[in-house]
C-alpha cells in the first residue's frame, strides 16, 4: 500500500507539472486582461496538432515540436484575440468569456474539419520503464517533465528579469498605475496572449506525448486547468504551479477510491472546496 501511494504521488507530480504549463497561460491572461479565456482549450488543441505535424510529418524530434507548437499556438492566440476577443472586451468580462467559448467551438471544428475525429499519436521510440526502489517511471514521463520545467523556468526568468516581463507584471498589478508610467497596455496584452496561448500549445504537445490527441483534447483537460488556476489563486502564476501540482496529485490519489473516469471530477470538487473555504486560492490575492 505505501508503495502504491508513493507511485501515485510520483505520477501525480509528473502529471501536475504538465498541467501547470497551460494553467500558467490561463491565469496569466486572467491577471492581465481580467477575464477567464476559455479559448485556452482550443489553443491547446492547436498546439497539439501543430506539434504533431512537426513531429510526424516533418520528422522533427519532440523537443523541437514543442517549439513549433509554442509559436503556432502563440501566434494563433494573438490573431484570435486581436480579431475577435479584443473588440468585445468593452462589453464586459462575462460577454468576452461567452465569446471565448464560441471561439473555442469554431477553432475546434476548424481542426476537426482538417484532421477528422481520429486519435493520433506522436512518433516516439518505445522504451522500457525505469525502476528504482519499487517505483516505476517511463523515460517519456521524465522527458515531458523536463520540457515542462524548462518552459516554466523560462517564463519565470522572463517575468522576473526582462523589462517586458516587468511591464506585464505591472499591468497585472495595477493597470491604471502602469498606464500612468507609460506602459503600452495593448502591447502587453498582445505579448501576454502570445506567451499564454503558446504555453497552452506546449501543454497540448505534452498531453499528446503522454497519450494521444484529437480535436477535443483541449476541452478534455480544461476542467483540470481551471481547477489548477482557481485552487492556486486565479491570476497568480506561482499559484497556478502550486494548484496544478495539487490537482495532479489529487487526481492520481483519487484512483485509490474512485474509478479512473472520475479523475477530472476531482478538479471540480477541488474548485468547490476552495471557493467555499478560501476563495482567493492558495496564493491568490482577492476573489471578489
Amino acid at each position: 500500500m505505501p508503495r502504491e501511494i508513493a507511485q501515485l504521488l510520483l505520477n501525480g507530480l509528473m502529471a501536475g507539472t504538465i498541467l501547470a504549463v497551460p494553467a500558467i497561460g490561463f491565469t496569466a491572461i486572467y491577471a492581465v486582461l481580467r477575464f477567464p479565456n476559455f479559448a485556452i482549450a482550443a489553443h491547446l488543441t492547436i498546439g497539439a496538432f501543430a506539434g504533431w505535424l512537426a513531429n510526424v510529418s516533418l520528422g522533427l524530434p519532440a523537443a523541437l515540436a514543442v517549439g513549433v507548437a509554442f509559436v503556432v499556438a502563440g501566434l494563433a492566440g494573438v490573431l484570435n484575440d486581436e480579431l475577435i476577443l479584443k473588440p468585445l472586451r468593452p462589453a464586459g468580462a462575462l460577454t468576452t468569456a461567452i465569446a471565448a467559448v464560441a471561439l473555442t467551438l469554431v477553432l475546434e471544428n476548424v481542426v476537426r474539419f482538417v484532421f477528422g475525429n481520429d486519435l493520433r499519436g506522436y512518433d516516439l521510440p518505445i522504451r522500457r520503464d525505469w525502476q528504482a526502489a519499487g517505483l516505476r517511471i517511463a523515460p517519456q514521463q521524465v522527458h515531458n517533465f523536463v520540457i515542462a520545467v524548462v518552459a516554466m523556468a523560462a517564463v519565470f526568468l522572463f517575468l522576473a528579469f526582462t523589462r517586458t516581463g516587468k511591464a506585464m507584471r505591472a499591468v497585472a498589478d495595477n493597470p491604471m498605475l502602469a498606464s500612468v508610467k507609460g506602459i503600452d497596455a495593448d502591447r502587453v496584452a498582445r505579448l501576454t496572449n502570445f506567451v499564454a496561448m503558446g504555453l497552452a500549445g506546449v501543454g497540448g504537445v505534452l498531453v499528446g506525448l503522454d497519450t494521444s490527441i484529437d480535436p477535443l483534447t483541449g476541452f478534455r483537460v480544461i476542467l483540470s486547468v481551471f481547477a489548477a488556476a482557481v485552487v492556486g489563486g486565479l491570476g497568480s502564476i506561482p499559484g497556478a504551479v502550486v494548484g496544478a501540482l495539487t490537482i495532479g496529485v489529487g487526481e492520481e490519489l483519487s484512483l485509490l477510491v474512485l474509478a479512473p473516469a472520475y479523475r477530472t471530477v476531482v478538479g471540480f470538487a477541488a474548485i468547490l472546496v476552495v471557493l467555499t473555504l478560501r476563495p482567493r486560492g492558495i496564493l491568490g490575492e482577492r476573489a471578489y
Binding site: 486572467y30 477575464f35 477567464p36 476559455f38 475577435i84 473588440p87 468585445l88 462589453a91 468580462a93 462575462l94 460577454t95 468569456a97 461567452i98 465569446a99 467559448v101 464560441a102 471561439l103 473555442t104 467551438l105 469554431v106 475546434e108 471544428n109 476548424v110 476537426r112 474539419f113 477528422g116 475525429n117 476541452f219 476542467l223 481551471f226 481547477a227 482557481v230 486565479l234 474509478a259 473516469a261 472520475y262 477530472t264 471530477v265 478538479g267 471540480f268 474548485i271 468547490l272 471557493l275 467555499t276 476563495p279 476573489a287 471578489y288
Partner: protein, 297 residues
C-alpha cells in the same frame, strides 16, 4: 413534411424554454451560466429515471426535474455569490462536464453512453405518432406560455427591478438595502428549474437521452438564441430560439448540397457556423434584434 414541421416547432419551443431560463440569470440578473446544458441534462435524466424505472407519472417527473436542478443551481450560486462573476462562469462550465461524466459512467443508473431509451411520453403508443406529435406540441406551447408569463411577471415586478439593479451594479443594490445574495441565489434557482423542466420535456418527447445529447454545443445554441433575440427581453428569447432552430435546419439542408465533403467535415462546418454566428452577433448587434426596453423613471 407536416410531421417534420411539427417536430421542429417542438424543438423551437424547448429552445425557447432554455432561452427564457437563461434570460432570468444572464439577461435580468447579469449572472453567467456557461454550463446550462448541465442543468438541461440533469433535468432530463431526473425525469426519465423517475418515470421509467419507478413508473411515476410524467407530471411528477417534470416537477422532480425542476426541483433537482433548482437545488443544484442554488448551491452553485451560493458558492460563488460573494465572488466575481468569472468564478460562476468556471463553476457552471465545470458542472456541465461533471454531469456528462456521471451520465457516461454510472452504468447502473444511466446506462452509460448507450443512454436511456423507452422514456414514456404522454399517450405515446395509445395514439398515432402524428397525433402524439401534435399533442406534444400543444403541451410544449403551454409550457412556453406559462414560463413566458412567469418571466414577464418577474421582469415587470419590483422583484425584477431589484434583479436589474444587481445586474447593473450590485453594490448600489446592496446599499439600497437589498440582500443581493438572496436575490442572486433565488434567480439562479428559478432559472435552473426552467432549464431542468426543458430537459425533462425533451426526454419525454424524444423518448431517448444519452450523454451525447448534452454537449457544450447546446449551451452555445441557447446563448446564441438569447443574444440574437435580445438579452433581457423575453419576447426576444422566444424569437431567438425560433431563429436558431431555423438556422440549424437551414444549414442542415445547405451542407447536404455540398457533395465533396465527408460527414465529419459537414458536422464540423455546421458547428463552426453556429459558433461563428454567435461571434458575429456579439460584434455587430450585441443587444439583439429586439433590444431590451426599459421604462423611463
Amino acid at each position: 413534411m407536416e410531421n417534420y414541421l411539427v417536430a421542429m416547432a417542438v424543438f423551437a419551443g424547448l429552445y425557447a424554454l432554455l432561452a427564457l431560463g437563461l434570460n432570468v440569470v444572464w439577461g435580468m440578473t447579469g449572472m453567467i451560466n456557461l454550463g446550462l446544458v448541465g442543468f438541461f441534462g440533469l433535468g432530463a435524466y431526473a425525469s426519465a429515471l423517475l418515470t421509467r424505472a419507478h413508473r411515476a407519472p410524467i407530471v411528477l417527473g417534470l416537477a422532480a426535474a425542476a426541483l433537482v436542478t433548482a437545488a443544484a443551481g442554488a448551491a452553485m450560486a451560493l458558492t460563488t455569490a460573494r465572488l466575481r462573476g468569472d468564478y460562476l462562469a468556471i463553476i457552471t462550465l465545470g458542472f456541465s462536464e461533471v454531469v456528462r461524466l456521471v451520465a457516461s459512467n454510472e452504468l447502473w443508473l444511466t446506462n452509460g453512453t448507450d443512454g436511456i431509451s423507452g422514456i414514456p411520453g404522454p399517450w405515446r403508443g395509445r395514439v398515432t405518432p402524428q397525433t402524439f406529435n401534435v399533442v406534444y406540441l400543444a403541451i410544449v406551447a403551454l409550457a412556453v406560455l406559462a414560463v413566458f408569463a412567469l418571466c414577464q411577471r418577474i421582469r415587470s415586478s419590483p422583484y425584477g427591478r431589484v434583479l436589474r439593479a444587481i445586474r447593473d451594479d450590485d453594490q448600489v443594490a446592496a446599499v439600497a438595502g437589498k440582500r443581493v445574495i438572496v436575490f442572486k441565489v433565488q434567480a439562479f434557482a428559478v432559472s435552473a428549474a426552467i432549464l431542468g423542466l426543458a430537459g425533462a420535456l425533451w426526454g419525454h418527447y424524444t423518448s431517448f437521452i444519452a450523454p451525447d445529447v448534452f454537449t457544450p454545443l447546446v449551451t452555445i445554441y441557447v446563448v446564441l438564441a438569447l443574444t440574437a433575440g435580445g438579452t433581457g427581453n423575453n419576447v426576444g428569447a422566444v424569437l431567438g430560439a425560433a431563429l436558431v432552430i431555423f438556422l440549424m435546419e437551414a444549414t442542415r439542408f445547405a451542407t447536404g448540397w455540398v457533395g465533396m465533403l465527408k460527414p465529419v467535415q459537414v458536422a464540423a462546418l455546421r458547428e463552426a457556423l453556429i459558433g461563428g454566428a454567435l461571434l458575429v452577433v456579439l460584434r455587430v448587434r450585441p443587444r439583439g434584434l429586439l433590444p431590451e426596453r426599459l421604462a423611463r423613471s
